[in-house]
Each structure stands twice: as C-alpha cells, then as structure tokens.
Amino acid sequence: MSPDTTPHPSRRPGTPAWKGVLVMLSTLLLSFSIYLFWHHNQAETRVQAVREQLRELFTLEAALVGETLRIRYGHSNNYDLINAYSSSEESRLRIVQKHLLAAPEQAVGAAAAELMQGLRAKESHIDLFKRARTIMRSSQHALSAALAEVLQSPDISPPLREASHQLQQAFLYQHGIANLQFLDEIPFLVELLREAALHGKDAALRDHLTAAARHADLLAGIAPHLNALTEKLTEPESIIRLRALAQRVENAESQRQTRLAAQQLTLGLGLLSLLIVLGWLGRAYMQDKRMASMVFETPSVGIMITDSHARILRINAAFTRVSGYSEADALGKTPAILHSGKHPAEFYKAMWDSLIQTGGWQGELINRRKNGELYPQWLSILAVRNEAGATTHYAGVFSDLSEIRAAQERIEHMAYHDALTGLPNRTLMRDRVEQAIAEAKRDHNKVALMFIDLDNFKGINDTLGHAVGDILLCEAADRIKSCLRASDTLARYGGDEFVLMPRSANSIDAVQGTAEKLLTCMHAPFNIQGQMLNITCSIGIALFPDDAQDYEGLMQQADTALYRSKEEGRDTYHFYEEVMNSAARERLLLHNNLSQALSEGEISLHYQPRVDLASGRILGAEALMRWNSKELGSVSPVRFIPVAEASGFIVPLGAWALREACRQGRIWHDAGHTGFSMAVNISAVQFARADVVREVQAALQVSGLPPNCLELELTESVLVKDVEKTLALVHALKALGVRIAIDDFGTGYSSLSYLKRFKVDILKIDQSFVHDLATDPDDAAIIQAIQQLAANLGMSTIAEGVETPEQQAFLLQAGCRDAQGYLFSKPVTAEAFTQLLLANGTG
C-alpha cells in the first residue's frame, strides 16, 4: 500500500497484470451472467404464465363437467355459464399456445394443438347438447300440457288413458336421472295416440292427441341423443390431453433448466452466482412439485389413477371428500373398497369387459363411503395404454350425484317424517297403528296408544326462543327414544306432542312400566346450549279394544286421558276412563253452546281474498268460520271445530257455511265479479256423510251461484281414507262442475297417483313452506317441486300464508300465480270484503 495518495495519471500501474485480467474477466462474467439472468427471466415468465393457464384449464374442465350435469338434470336453467367456461378454456389455451410459440418445443406444441382440436370438437358437442336439451325441455312442457288435456277428457278409452299415464311417467322421469327403460315402448304408445287421434270424435281432443304424439315422438328421438352427448361431454378425454400437455411442458421446462445450469456451471460463475442458481433451482423444484399436485386437484370431480391391476396409485382431494377414504386408506387398494354390494357381479363384469375391449366405461353406480353411507355417482373410467397397446393405468373420474338424489328423496321423506326430529309423522303413525289394530283384531291382542305432551313447553318457547325450543324438542325425542325398545313406534304428533305405540300391550303392567320409565327418564335436566332446563311430560293412555275401536277413537281417548294427567298437576300418566275429565266438560260446554250458536247467529263467515300474485287483483275468497259467543267470548275455530266434528254438529254447521258462502258468492257474482271463485272448507267428518253431494247441489241451486265459481277445499287426510268411496264422491262433486282443492298441501300424504286419480284441480301450498322461503333452501326447492308437479299434472296452485314481498317475488319466479295471505289481506267480514272488491276494481 503506497503512502502516496495523490493520483498520478501518467504513471504506469505497478500492479501485476493478472489483477487487471481478473477485473476484466469479472466484468465479462458479470455481463454474461446478466445476459443469462435476462434470458432465463424471459423463459421463466413464460413458464409461469403457461402453468397458471394450465391450472385454470384443469379447474375449468372440472367446472364444465359439473355444469353439463347440472344442465342435463335441470339444476341449471341458462347456458351462459357453460358458454363462459367453454370460451374461457379456449382463450386460455390460446395464451398457452402463444407462449409456447416463443420456445418451439415440438412435442409440447403438438400436445397443445391436439388439445385445441379436442376443445373445438367439444365445443360443437356443447352446441348440439344445448340444442337437444332445449328441445327436450320445451317439448316436455308441451307433452305434459297436451297429456293433461287428454286425461281430462271424460270419454277416452281405458287403454288410451293408460298409455297417456305411461307417457307422462316416461318423460317426467327423463327430467331426472337418465333411464331409458320406457323407450322401447314409446313408439307403441305413440301409435296408440295417433290411432285414437284418427278416430276421435271430439276435434279438440284429436288436436291434443296429435300434439302429444308429436312431442312424445320427438322426445323419444332426442332423449338417447341427449344422453349420448352428456356422456361424451363428461368423458375425461380433455383432462387426459391436458395432463399430457402439462407433462410435456414440465419435461421441456426441466430440460431447459438442465441446459441452463450446465451453461452456468461451465462458465464458472463465482460461488455467489452458483448459490443463487442453486437457490433458484430449489425454488423451481418446489414449484414443480406444486404444479404436479395442482394438476390433480381439480376441485369438484373425484379422480383416481390405478395401475394395470387396478391398485390405486393416486387420488385427489375430491376423491377423499366424496368417498371419505384418505390417501393412506386408499393407496395400494383396489376400487373394490368402494363397492356397495348393490350391484350384481355381472355389473362389474360388464364394466371390466367394456374397459378391456373399448378402453373405457361410464355410467351410474352406487358406491359406499368409508362411513358406510351409500351414494350414487357418475363414473367414467379410461384405460391408459402405452405405445405397445398394453394397459398401464386406469383413470377414473366421477361426480357425486347424491345431492341431486337427496333433493328427490327429501320430498318423499317429508311425507312420512317430521322435519325437526326425524321421527315418523302422524301420517306414518296412523298407518302403523291401523296395521297394529288390524293384527290385534285377528289375534285378539291389545294395542296401547300413549299420548305424550311436554309440560310447560310453550313457556320455554316463549322465554328462550324457538331455536332453544326446537333443540329441546329434538333432545326430548332422543331421550324418549332411548328408553324404548327398537320395536316401539314413536311419532311426533305436532308441536310438543308425541305419540307412542309400544310393541305389545297385552300386559297392563308392562304399559304402565313404560309410562313410568318415560316419566323418570325426563327427570334428568336437559343441557341446551349451556343452560340446564328441567322439563317433565304428561301421558295419556288408551287401549284397543277396551277404549276405542279405531285409530281416531284411540287418539281421542288418549288425548282425554292426557288432559286428566295435566289437570292432576302434570308429570304423571293416566289410562282413559269412561267418565273422566274437565276436558270433556269443556267440550260439553262448547258443544251445548255451539248448537245454539248457529240459531242465535253467533257464527259468521269471514272471507280471505285470494289474489293474482302478479297484479294483486282479487280472484276469489276463502270462507272461514268465526264464533263470537255471548257466554264464552270469541272462540277460535281451532277449539270449536274439533268439538263440532266429534259431536257430528259439523254436518249442519258445514252445510250452513256452504249455503252462506254460496249466497254471498252469488251477491258478488251479481255485482259484476263474474270470474270470482268462492272456496269453502269441507271437513273430513262432513265428507264421510254420503249426502255431501246433495248438500253442495242444494247450496248451488238455492243460491244460484254458477258451479264453476265454487271450490271445495279438502285436506289430504280426506283423500286417503276409504279411497274407493272418496273417489266416487269426488267424481260426483266434479260432475256438478265444482272444483276440488287440496288444502295444506305438502304436510300430509303426497301421493302422485292419488292426486292423478282424484283429478284434483288446485293444490294449496301449505303456509309452512311459504313462511321460511327466504331462509330455508329446502322449502324453496319443495315449492318449486310442487309447482312442477302441479304443472305436469295440469293443476294450478295457490300459495297460502304469503306475508312479505320477498315471498311474493320468489313465488312469481317459481311460476306460482295465485296466493292468499296477510300481505294482501287477513280474513274480513263480508261488508269489508265488498269494499276490498270495489277498491280492487275487478269486474
């Protein structure tokens, strides 16, 4: 180091030449490494972009398969999304191709071109798919409408009626899961319709028959076509091509990286740059890993890859989600772990035959999840072959159909079970009890019916809220169940009431024992959301044949006995005794007053408007009874109608209501409201008397109300009692020209065949469904299902209990046209109703 710090430009440097060379070399190396960085940078950006697009492509591919299935099964109602997926796939692939152009790797380019070709082909399949699905949808509408008209015609022959029913079923079914079992019969059915159209007398009927035949014919042609297209679009072909492309991109990329590393090494960059390169290599390696797994993790479609012996090599997250088997469970096993035992061995044999012969199989099958649950799935399997043609792998892609199925099953389950507790509902209970009574009659045994009511439940509901009340109900149901035998039948009767039928009632002691056990087990407090609640129950017991001969009687006597238990301070049980209770006294009081009430004019009719949902225009009214007693004050129909039914007084009362409603209806009709319809409730008891037809006829004659303005509302329970007799009555009523509506539809027995046989005109959607529309997607689905059902059977619907504009908007969207509820008006007196009509400006 020189002490002289002044620069001497003219002096030659005394430093050795190698240092200068080193500086020069460093500079050169530096510039070269900068160039390499730049070059690598370009390639890296490109690869990143390609990887991102490929990842998106995998996601889109899965989404496309999902949307295809949604469209096919009617869960999707427009084509915007499938178009968006399809065009997005293409634009992304085009970006990939653009990036690949900059680095011409032949194999990669070819794979991309092949994929593009595949996408183009798929796009034209999507076009055909949309066309076919559209025709199917509109033709189904037209066919249903035409068949409904045909079936309404009174003079069609039984074979023709049968054919129409079959056609209806064949294509209703097509709405759902593919099943072409009817397809072979359709040409025959269509021929039958055509034949009838040729020889029919009624011109309108002939038109309907011709239309139905045309649409059925069209549908029969299009259904298999549509199924084939669905299968085509859900094949994993594109996924496999996409994987091939991703694989090649990654191969090319690792080759490039190798080259790069070699260049850098041979250039002898310093340790630092080497470290950086190594660091970067490590990073790239990690990305590689991540990419490979991304490829596989398409979100909604389960994928499994097996080797040629069907041993599972890889599964994705969706596989685990659907089947419940984790990688640790599944790898190395064969897909037989999923077997449900629901398909015969031939089914699997056929699958393997197809796999071996054609290299692919797809279809619907039922598998079992790890937790033992069964689920339906749509599965496509592809055999992956090497150049020599030997199968090396199988790739299985499946989507879970259980959600689609669950929606169908929910409706079925609802008919027989209580939504909250999952216990059988009163419909199912009635079936079981009636069955038990029939058996007991034959074997001279006894049947016991226990009516269980939670004490002070209303208080809990009011103070702690319905949410806590609902939880408590479920826990109480569980508690009760826990002290029963599996063969005892427990049902939720409604509110906080349960009904229990022990398996055997031959020993009174055993029945008593059960009741005591129930009381005791309720004594332990319930822990609901951290609160300790004490609740007891009261029980009333009635026995067949001692106390009553049928279900109704037993229920009534058990109810009486229950009142006795309540009266005696609750938390106890009573058997029914002949002379009993204050409940009976109250009934007596009501009964005595009731018979005078009518003659004293204490009972009046109120009218609730039924309106056109879209315009709010009043279309009709439902007549409802009100009792304003001098002695008892205002008595709710919920209280006095059961008494009237039990005593038979409902018969004169109902007849009076019918006449009064018709009289009032005529007044409004004469005032110019000609399209006005008057709905009157007919009680089950009233219906059971054979003179209901004559009563209706008389009411119409006396009042002069046109029959088509009168609507009789029956409950579902009326229809299922003594079907043949009811059928005759309903037909006789319909022959008068009046219309039949089913009240509270959806809460009871919802049998398609009954509705069809009874030729019901109107379904009144129960208010419980309307009430929770905004919050409960199940209710929304159920309303849509009812709506579709009604449309398919040619019935109309009325939504009950509409209270908010949101409910109104939803119902309109769902295609519901008529409604009643507090949103429009509560039930009002005839005078007030007249004012409403005037304000409404109808007529």
């Binding site: 020189s2 002289d4 620069p7 440097p13 430093t15 050795p16 240092k19 200068g20 080193l22 500086v23 460093s26 500079t27 530096l30 510039s31 490494s33 900068i34 960085f37 730049w38 940078n41 950006t45 990143q48 972009a49 949604r70 469209i71 999707s76 109602n77 427009n78 084509y79 915007d80 999304l81 499938i82 178009n83 968006a84 065009s87 634009s91 992304r92 970006i95 076009d127 949309k130 066309r131 559209t134 025709i135 509109s138 033709s139 509408h141 037209a142 409408a145 239309a211 045309r214 069209l218 630092l272 740059s273 950086i276 879209a614 315009s615 225009r617 504009p805 109104q808 908007a809 309109l812």
Partner: protein
C-alpha cells in the same frame, strides 16, 4: 450503458496505484451488479398489471349464474374509454366503405334499435344482403356473432362487413391508407397501438365501442331486481306464459337468447312455404358443413325485440305478433291463442332497456385526445 460505465471504472482502477483496492472495488461493483440483477429478476416476477387484467377478463363473468332462467343486464361493461371513443368514430366513418357512403351506422342505427327496419338492407352495390340486420345493441353478450355464428368474437365480426362486397365493399389496404393519411386518426391509433393503424387495431376499436352499446334497466330487469311494479300485469302474465309454454328453454340467460344454436323449425318445416331459395337459409351448415347444422341459426336475443322488426334471419315477418305465433307453431308445436300472444308481446315489450343518446363521436374523441 452498464458496459461503458464498467469500462470507465476499470480504466479508473488502472490509473490507480493501489491494485488491491481496485480489486476490492471491482468485487463490490460486481456484488452490486448481482444485487441489481436480483432486483430486476424479482421485479419482473411481481404481478404484471396487464397480465392481471387479461386473466380477469378471461374468467367467466361474475354475473354468470345458471340456476336462474333470466338475469338482468349490468349497468356497463369495463372498457378502455379512449379506445371505445375511437371505435365510435370508426363506427360512423363512411370512409370505411368502398364508395365512401356507408358506415356501420348506416345499417345499425344507434338512435333507434341498433339495426334498421328493412327486411334486408341493400349495401354498396345496391344488391340486397340476404339476411336481416341483427341489432348491435347487447351484441357483446352473444356467444357468437352473425345469424350463423361464424364469428366467435366482436373483433372477428367487426372486420367482415367492411370488405363484404354486398355490404361496405371496401379493401383493407385502401381503408388503412385512408386512416393513416388522416392526422387525427393516425395520432389516436399511434397513442393506443404500438403498430399504429392496422386491421387488428380497427376491429379492436370497433369491438370496444360495441361493448358500450348495452341497454340496461329494461322494466323487466328492474322487475327481476325486485321492483314488482316495474312491469304491467299483462307483462307479468306474459312472463308466466313465457316460462310455461317453454319459450324460456331457448331464450334464457343474461341476453334472453344469443347463447345457443337451434334448428329453425323444430316442430315443422319453416322453409317449405317460403318462396325463397337462398343458400343462407341453410344457416350454420354454411359454416360447419355438417348435415345436422342445416337450417340451424343462433337463437337471437329478445332484448329490445319490440324495436327490431321485421323478424327472423330473413326479415320475412313484419310484426312481433306474427313472429310470436310462428315461434309457437314451429319451435314449440303449439298454437297460441290471441290472448296468449297478446300477453307474450306485453312481456316482450318490457325487455326494452335504456338506449343511450349517441353523442357525436368526434366530440368525444377530441376531448379525450386533449
């Protein structure tokens, strides 16, 4: 630049007596350069704004939702306003035609319906085109363009009529030359495109402008958004019928159509009574050559349909009432009653959205440029 700096540095070192210090400084510089390179590398890996935008526009629209039959239009689509303003000028530019007399706006009248009310509008050679002019309004929501869907994008479509001898009948070279000679145009193109005036640039600008030609807030859209009184009772009945009769099977989605192809005459031969033997009646067949695509057309959007008479690909039907009736007969196989047709037309009338006043393109472009 770096090279020169470095060399200058090196010269400096040589001038110094202390070689070791020089070497140290060189090493430090070397390190600094590596750091610089690191920074550069990392920076270029930061999310690229342009790339981000592309990715966004590639994603399926957020409004896409397939459980509903019909969706309301958004208030606007994201556009580059300067590019759209250029497109607007071009849309009205008669110099894009062979004789300097036809612009896009000649057939697509933006003041009325985005189309015209002639069956088939004659082009430059007075030869009638063979198809009815489809409206340019909401074309951005169609999944393909033209009656037979032969263009996949607005950009692809925009170039076709310019050179079609039956329409604007121009040559691209002449059009591009004219635009290059115009100083205002060439300035705008240069500001927006690296290559200045080009065919791609012209079609991109036109397409961008067309993305602004959407008609939101139709009474029915407002109804779908919850304004129950936005449409009259008759239209509500029509809406119920529209669903029940199955019209909605084809005419669905955000554009109430425009998202699939369908045979004209599903339930009967539509063409048998038409005294017309035109190859364009074959529709999509002309594009794909597939037998199955004969007589297949793009299902048109029903938005603003009351304004776009006459109807169908050949403009053969003058009134909406007749069009609805024929659709019922040939597509659905039903004979609609007079009342049903009336209600359906009432519903269709509620699909007319806001048609924005078409400001003089020139004014917009000039204010943008300044």
């Amino acid at each position: 630049m770096r090279f020169q700096e470095l060399r200058a540095c090196c010269n400096n070192f040589r001038g110094k007596r202390c070689g070791k210090t020089g070497l140290c400084i060189a090493l430090m510089l070397w390190l600094a350069a590596i750091l610089l390179a690191w920074w550069w590398w990392n920076d270029s890996h930061a999310p690229d704004k342009a790339a981000g935008k592309t990715a966004e526009s590639l994603a399926p629209a957020k409004t896409a939702e397939s459980s509903l039959g019909i969706l309301p239009l958004p208030q606007s689509l994201p556009v580059n306003t300067r590019l759209a303003a250029l497109g607007q000028r071009l849309f009205h530019e008669a110099r894009l035609s062979g004789n300097g007399q036809f612009s896009c706006a000649t057939c697509h009248d933006l003041k009325t319906s985005g189309a015209n009310n002639e069956r088939t509008k004659p082009g430059i050679n007075h030869a009638a085109t063979s198809r009815n002019t489809p409206t340019v309004f909401n074309a951005a929501f169609n999944f393909r363009q033209f009656w037979d869907g032969r263009a996949r994008t607005l950009e692809e479509q925009a170039g076709v009529p310019i050179t079609d001898p039956r329409e604007m009948g121009a040559k691209w070279d002449n059009v591009l030359d004219t635009l290059r000679e115009d100083t205002e145009y060439s300035r705008e193109f240069a500001a927006l495109f690296a290559n200045g005036v080009s065919k791609t640039a012209v079609t991109q600008a036109l397409a961008e402008f067309e993305r602004t030609l959407i008609t939101p807030n139709a009474p029915f859209d407002r109804f779908l958004r919850g304004e129950m009184q936005a449409i009259p009772v008759e239209a509500k009945k029509g809406w119920v019928l529209f669903q029940q009769r199955g019209c909605i099977a084809c005419h669905q989605g955000i554009n109430i159509g425009g998202n699939l192809f369908q045979v004209m005459g599903v339930m009967g031969n539509f063409f048998i009574d038409r005294k017309r033997d035109d190859v364009t009646d074959l529709g999509r067949y002309n594009v794909t050559g597939l037998e199955a695509d004969k007589y297949v057309f793009k299902v048109p959007s029903l938005r603003n349909v009351i304004l776009t008479a006459p109807y169908f690909h050949d403009g053969s039907v003058d009134t909406l009432v007749d069009a609805v009736r024929l659709m019922g007969r040939f597509q659905l196989g039903v004979e609609l009653s007079d009342e049903e047709v009336r209600q359906l037309v009432a519903f269709l009338s509620s699909l007319t959205g806001d048609i924005k006043a078409d400001k003089p393109a020139h004014a917009i472009a000039m204010t943008r440029a300044q």
